[in-house]
């Protein structure tokens, strides 16, 4: 057991830290960036991805040929720690980089990798996901959108929803039912679809905060050539799921988000301790609990990363991760709002929430998206504890 990073990792950390200090958009040098969920903000975030790409920092764990540095999982964790520490902008490219790219690496043809990875790394092409449908949420296998065989490709029809970043994205990846006679997890195919394809329309959906963070996407006979099928036809479910347990596809939710937030909460609590000690005393237990949980998540991530690096397959533990980070995120932000009191619920002059309220609204979605926590608890009970399926 050794919890130290090695000298090279520490040098990498120093580089990232210095670069971010010099480059993160801040007041007085083009920042903070406007909201990701506006046309202007989306482009500003895209430009930031390009800036990182030019420093070879947008996808450090990818091979060099696709714009990365060929670094490992641990270096990626170092990068993330520094990224959150610097309070750098939300990654507009994250759906592509964290959800699609691992699948491309495992199932993509060389031509697909060359075509899609570099512009994903540079922010030139931003991806959104097309998993859920109005009647296929928790029950993802209930997908009904169809793919019908045509000359040289497929014709897609149907509707996807809750497509994060869907309002402004360039491409969509998603599952469609290619074999109408197959049921549930069978007969699905994984497609890559440009958002400007004829027949495709987007309807942005406003979220709790009033911003259009996600969208519905309608497919009316959208033609997609064979080169835009990822993996085997009719095997889309396996393709989509396979990378969940691999090292690259671990999609470890970056622990830095929570340790950073818990640290800021702790600072706020210290300040409250001076201003209103009895109120601070009431919140002490919850604040400390949030700090402990954020640290537990960080350490558990190293624990899991070590296993992944040793070649172990990470399976249902990703469900445990999901439950833990979403509960931790919510606890941190609920405690913060309680600590800050009613003033933290006031919107600014443009009707936008402050940092903590914004973080709370975001955290509220955690137990819902990427598989509700109810689904995740089923998975943990069945695959880790061996309880029978219902």
């Amino acid at each position: 057991m050794d919890l130290r990073f090695d000298a090279e990792q520490e040098r990498f950390r120093d580089e990232v830290r210095s670069w971010l200090e010099a480059n993160v958009p801040r007041a007085g040098r083009g920042g903070p960036l406007p909201s990701l969920d506006t046309a202007e903000g989306f482009e500003a975030h895209r430009a930031w991805e390009r800036t990182m790409y030019d420093a070879r920092l947008s996808v450090v764990s990818w091979p060099e040929e696709y714009g990365g540095r060929g670094l490992g999982l641990l270096e990626w964790l170092v990068f993330e720690e520094e990224y959150y520490r610097a309070q750098a902008p939300t990654r507009v490219g994250q759906n592509g980089i964290f959800l699609l790219a691992p699948t491309l690496f495992e199932f993509g043809t060389d031509a697909q990798k060359e075509r899609y990875l570099p512009p994903m790394a540079s922010g030139e092409e931003i991806w959104c996901q097309g998993w859920s449908e109005p009647d296929a949420g928790s029950d993802l296998a209930g997908i009904r959108s169809r793919a019908v065989r045509r000359d040289g490709g497929w014709e897609l029809s149907g509707q996807k929803t809750w497509c994060s970043r869907g309002a402004f994205a360039d491409w969509l990846f998603g599952l469609f039912r290619s074999d109408p006679d197959a049921e549930r997890h069978k007969g699905l195919t994984y497609f890559l679809v440009p958002m400007d394809a004829p027949g495709l329309t987007v309807r942005p959906i406003a979220q709790l905060d009033g911003e259009t963070g996600f969208a519905e996407v309608f497919f009316d006979a959208v033609f997609v050539p064979d080169e835009q099928v990822l993996g085997d036809v009719h095997r889309g479910w396996e393709v989509a799921m396979a990378t969940a347990g691999s090292e690259r596809g671990l999609s470890l939710r970056s622990p830095a988000r929570y340790t950073e937030a818990a640290g800021r909460l702790l600072e706020r609590h210290r300040a409250l301790g001076r201003a209103d000690p009895s109120r601070a005393a009431r919140l002490a237990d919850a604040v400390a609990g949030a700090v402990v949980d954020a640290e537990a998540y960080r350490l558990h991530t190293y624990w899991t990363a070590t296993r992944a690096l040793a070649g172990e397959r990470i399976g249902a533990e990703t469900s445990m991760n999901k439950i833990f980070w979403s509960e931790t995120d919510l606890a941190i932000h609920e405690t913060a709002l309680e600590l800050l009191g009613p003033d933290a619920l006031v919107l600014d002059d443009e009707g936008r929430p402050g940092t903590w309220l914004d973080g709370f609204l975001f955290a509220l979605a955690g137990p819902i998206y990427a598989g509700t926590n109810e689904i995740q608890r089923n998975v943990v009970a069945e695959r880790v504890l061996g309880l029978p399926r219902s």
Binding site: S138, D139, L208, G341, L364, I368, E374
Partner: protein, 336 residues
């Protein structure tokens, strides 16, 4: 011992429900959010016609002279219906404060004029929630504000800065150098402010249990209708237990609210303790109901278009207004 509302009280609530169903559907709430003061003067006038604005105004000033027991049932209904009008600030806090003030001669005249105007729907008198002392009720012509060891009734200038809260209610900046009429001073002012804090907490608790009930009703409706894995999601134990667990907390908060109202009306020396208990329980129950309802709705509940957030955000704001659960639990320990 008869712990129940009487027929008249229940009828009054039913009238308010019918009114709200017609005059305040969710789209009307959305419209009200859009701009200050966050509520409708038209609807306020209609509420006055129903007698709602006159509930706590003494009969001697043209009101109905009813008490907190009558009021909390109406506030619970306002929470259930999502009415954005400032019934809590005006009827639970400002009117009782003004009615019991004994200030200067000028105040005597003002008191009668203002209370009559409130009863008739012609005026809105606002207050300051000590949990956010820099702002006052938005849209009030007159606000009652603490100043030094006095309470003053101050006109609100038209151009006062106004802020929107996450739940669509607005608040106006508190007048900084109030030049109004002195409503009370010294020990009497302190007494009235302490009572106002209890009234605000109790009123907020009543609105919260109403809003919480509404969210659970919405979630149950959705769970009956939404099908996943071939059956309504409401048939899954996880969904059942989320909602049942929250419902139990809400249903057991309600008697605390009703009892506190009764204690205030009876002048019970423990009334402040009872208000604190009510607010502590109602704040937590409503927050839990909001969480459960959102989780059951899933992504659709996270959208602006769906109605759930109108109630959920109200619950967040009111859970912290007039003292949060922790504040009131500290009061319980100090007074029990």
């Amino acid at each position: 011992m008869r712990f129940a509302f009487d027929e008249q009280q229940l009828q009054f609530r039913a009238q308010l429900r019918s009114f709200a169903e017609k005059e305040c559907p969710p789209d009307a709430i959305r419209t009200a959010w859009e701009q200050a003061p966050g509520w409708s003067r038209d609807r306020w006038a209609h509420l006055a016609e129903l007698g709602v604005t006159a509930v706590t105004v003494p009969e001697s000033h043209g009101g109905l002279g009813l008490g907190f027991v009558d009021l909390v049932l109406l506030l619970e209904e306002a929470g259930y219906s999502g009415l954005p009008e400032p019934l809590l600030d005006v009827l639970a806090v400002a009117v009782p404060l003004l009615a019991q003030a004994e200030g200067t001669a000028a105040e005597g005249l003002l008191r009668d004029r203002v209370l009559r105007a409130v009863a008739e729907g012609g005026a809105v008198v606002g207050v300051v929630d000590p949990a956010s002392p820099s702002v006052v009720t938005a849209g009030a012509e007159l606000v009652l504000v603490p100043f030094g060891d006095e309470i003053r009734a101050v006109d609100v200038p038209d151009g006062a800065a106004r802020h929107r809260l996450v739940d669509g209610t607005w608040r106006a900046a508190a007048p900084s150098a109030p030049a109004g009429v002195v409503v009370a001073e010294g020990a009497r002012a302190r007494q009235l402010l302490a009572a106002a804090a209890d009234h605000g907490a109790l009123g907020a608790a009543a609105v919260l249990v109403g809003a919480a009930t509404r969210m659970l009703v919405m979630a149950a409706d959705y769970a009956r209708q939404r099908v996943q894995f071939g059956k309504p999601i409401g048939s899954f134990q996880a969904v059942k237990h989320h909602l049942a667990g929250a419902l139990v907390r809400v249903e057991f908060a309600k008697p605390l609210v009703y009892r506190a109202a009764w204690s205030l009306d009876e002048g019970d020396p423990d009334a402040a303790l009872h208000c604190a208990m009510a607010k502590a329980a109602a704040s937590d129950a409503a927050r839990r109901a909001a969480r459960a309802a959102l989780q059951v709705h899933g992504a659709i509940g996270y959208t602006w278009e769906h109605d759930l957030h109108l109630w959920m955000k109200r619950a967040w704001v009111l859970a912290g207004a007039w003292g949060d659960a922790g504040h009131h639990r500290a009061t319980v320990l100090a007074r029990a």
